[in-house]
């Protein structure tokens, strides 16, 4: 083999070697991150997978899977108490989502748009529910309801959950709202839109992804909330998490697996609706905002 032949091959070899090295370990992707990722995935999903699996177990065992059966779902759904509790939780989640989103969004408008001292102070006051321990929020709500003599019921849970949720909505919507260019609204007014039309046609479409995300978040938070619900719940129906907690005191039944799996399914369904809704409406960019692919 001639020297010239080697000279021709060398760069090729060099290039190939570089390519292989780059693929194996890019300096921005250390190998241990991969391990972290799988550890995270394991600890997040393994318990869920086990609960889901054992919800279909044919025996009451929580250690050994003995065969497929729907008996625990049957037990869950045939119990009037549990069914009522599930409905109560869904109701709490939906009412909190709707009322909390509306109130939180209007509060965000007031905080961003009002130039008064009160608004500036409210910006800080509004953060208090976010940092208040939930147990304090729950206990203080209970004390308040007792003081003014309101009988505990589903409504009291909703009031407490909505109070707690407004801040989340306001924080999320406010961020988006303050990033809006005021000139865009002025342009709408300038082009003949009234103030209400400007909000409906220009501002809300721009805020829509943030409002949707905030609504989903507070649904998820209030639907399966235990602490606040525990303090503010009435006799019956009790929300599902509270119901589960009280039933555990008499021994863990595999029905809990079925309940847990059902609740998980409801949460996933809501998430799927949120991701799919913009796509069905033909507005892909909003879906991107929701799942964090908002590049622009």
């Amino acid at each position: 083999m001639s020297t010239q032949g080697w000279a021709e091959r060398l760069p090729v070899l060099g290039r190939r070697a570089t390519r292989r090295r780059r693929r194996r370990r890019g300096f921005d992707r250390p190998r241990f991150l991969r391990a972290f990722f799988w550890i995270f995935m394991f600890f997040t999903f393994a318990p869920l997978a086990i609960v889901a699996l054992f919800s279909f177990n044919s025996t009451p065992s929580l250690q050994q899977f003995d065969g497929f059966s729907l008996q625990w779902y049957d037990e869950f759904l045939s119990s009037a108490t549990l069914r009522e509790s599930l409905m109560a939780s869904v109701e709490i989640g939906l009412v909190t989502m709707v009322v909390g989103t509306v109130l939180g969004t209007t509060l965000a408008f007031a905080l961003v748009r009002a130039r008064s001292r009160v608004a500036q102070a409210s910006n800080l006051v509004m953060l208090i529910p976010l940092v208040t321990p939930e147990i304090v929020a729950g206990a203080s709500a209970l004390v308040l309801f007792a003081q003014i003599g309101i009988e505990l019921s589903l409504a009291t849970i909703m009031i407490a959950e909505i109070t707690f949720s407004i801040s989340f909505v306001t924080v999320i919507v406010r961020a988006r709202l303050s990033a809006l260019n005021r000139e865009v609204e002025e342009a709408a007014l300038d082009l003949g839109a009234t103030r209400m039309q400007t909000i409906r046609l220009i501002v809300l479409p721009a805020l829509w992804p943030a409002i949707l995300a905030a609504g989903l978040l507070i649904f998820a938070l209030s639907f399966d909330d235990f602490v606040i619900a525990f303090f503010t719940t009435g006799e019956s129906p009790t929300p599902l998490p509270v119901q589960i907690y009280s039933s555990i005191r008499f021994g863990v039944r595999p029905t809990i697996n079925a309940i847990g799996t059902s609740m998980l399914l409801i949460s996933f369904l809501i998430l799927a609706v949120a991701v799919l809704l913009p796509r069905l409406l033909g507005r892909r960019e909003e879906e991107n905002v929701l799942i964090g692919r908002d590049a622009a």
Partner: protein, 362 residues
């Protein structure tokens, strides 16, 4: 297109003693101004001079603290922005990001419940006017700065307002595009015949496009008139300094002329309200300063060349007449192959100007 409601050669906008205060600061101070319909009128001034506030009072986004704004002869204090027959082109374009080009341009017509077919044809017409035919279904995010600017313009023009308000619309464009858009804007204005009220801090832009200019400073109109008048005969030191480059030489009024800080008595026309002994400025445009080739009757001084800057079509020569007294001269490079080799730095040469080119300003 023909402007709605604007009487031909009538008045489009009139400011009557308009003052606008924000807290302790006075943004606009006793403004009295009439803008004729069909006119391309510019408000020119440095940032914070009150020009944008003036524009916003016409649009209806701000209310005058005192005085009143009249549109087509009618006072408009009680008319909200969405009922005024004016449209605005914003500095940030302010396009509706979630609507496409067509949706943006049609927005105003839809609010006024214009017939669908008419909307379609008028939008197409407006897009043709700004040369954006074919981009109807692009979203603003997919457009370049110049194209967004055109959409903003079409969106306003399509409503055929009696007055179009433009708030530094070319500010965000690069120099070349800006020059091109200046010409286009002027052409469009001539074509549609709508009154343009144009706000800018760029004196060259104002000179190039306007029928009339009002130079503003600290909330007050310092001078208004056609570009030639503003440029050739500024009435105030601020105007002379703000429009173009000007040599402002400190001087004192004496019998028969003014005495420059160098000690020479120079022939000049002194305004009647300047008695002898008044401190004034003598303003001479750089292109009116003549070096060496002085003729009879010209003011004749001597100066030392301190800098020569070759600018392509012209060469800027900076001369020192005395301590802290410099003049700038612009020499055309038409006759010479290179103007910068005519004189050496440090050389003493004759400097002069025609007496009629010197303006005495208080």
């Amino acid at each position: 297109m023909s402007p709605n409601g604007a009487k031909q050669n009538g008045e489009a906008i009139r400011f009557e003693g308009v003052t606008k205060r924000f807290g302790d600061t006075t943004a606009v101070d006793d403004l009295n101004l009439t803008i004729r319909s069909g006119e391309f009128f510019s408000l020119l001034g440095p940032s914070g001079c009150g020009k944008t506030t003036t524009l916003r009072m016409v649009a209806g986004f701000e209310q005058p603290t005192e005085g009143s704004v009249h549109l087509a002869g009618e006072p408009v204090e009680d008319v909200p922005p969405y009922r005024r027959n004016v449209n605005t082109v914003f500095q940030s374009y302010a396009l509706f990001e979630h609507l496409d080009v067509e949706g943006n341009v049609a927005f105003g017509l839809k609010r006024r419940k214009v017939d669908k077919d008419e909307i379609r044809s008028r939008v197409a017409e407006a897009l043709e006017l700004v040369q954006l035919t074919g981009r109807e279904h692009s979203k603003p995010a997919q457009l370049s700065g110049g194209q967004m600017q055109r959409v903003a313009l079409a969106r306003a023009l399509v409503n055929q307002p009696s007055v179009l308000l433009l708030d530094e619309p070319l500010g965000a464009l690069d120099l070349k595009l800006r020059k091109q858009m200046q010409v286009e804007l002027k052409e469009i204005q001539r074509e549609v015949g709508i009154t343009f009220l144009y706000v800018t801090h760029d004196q060259e832009e104002a000179l190039a496009m306007s029928d009339r200019i009002a130079v503003m400073d600290q909330g007050v109109v310092q001078q208004s008139g056609p570009p030639e008048e503003i440029y050739e005969t500024p009435q105030k030191t601020f105007v002379a300094g703000f429009i173009g480059v000007s040599n402002l030489l400190p001087a004192t009024v004496e019998d028969g002329g003014i005495r420059l800080a160098t000690g020479q008595l120079v022939h000049a026309t002194v305004p009647t309200d300047c008695p002898a002994g008044t401190s004034v400025h003598c303003s001479v445009r750089p292109e009116k300063i003549i070096l060496e080739d002085l003729e009879d009757g010209m003011v004749s001084l001597e100066g030392e060349i301190v800098e020569r800057i070759y600018l392509g079509t012209t060469t800027q020569v900076i001369l020192e007449l005395g301590p802290n007294l410099r003049v700038i001269s612009l020499e055309q490079n038409t006759d010479r192959s290179r103007a910068d080799d005519r004189w050496e730095i440090g050389e003493r040469i004759k400097v002069g100007w025609r007496p009629e080119h010197a303006l005495v300003l208080r």
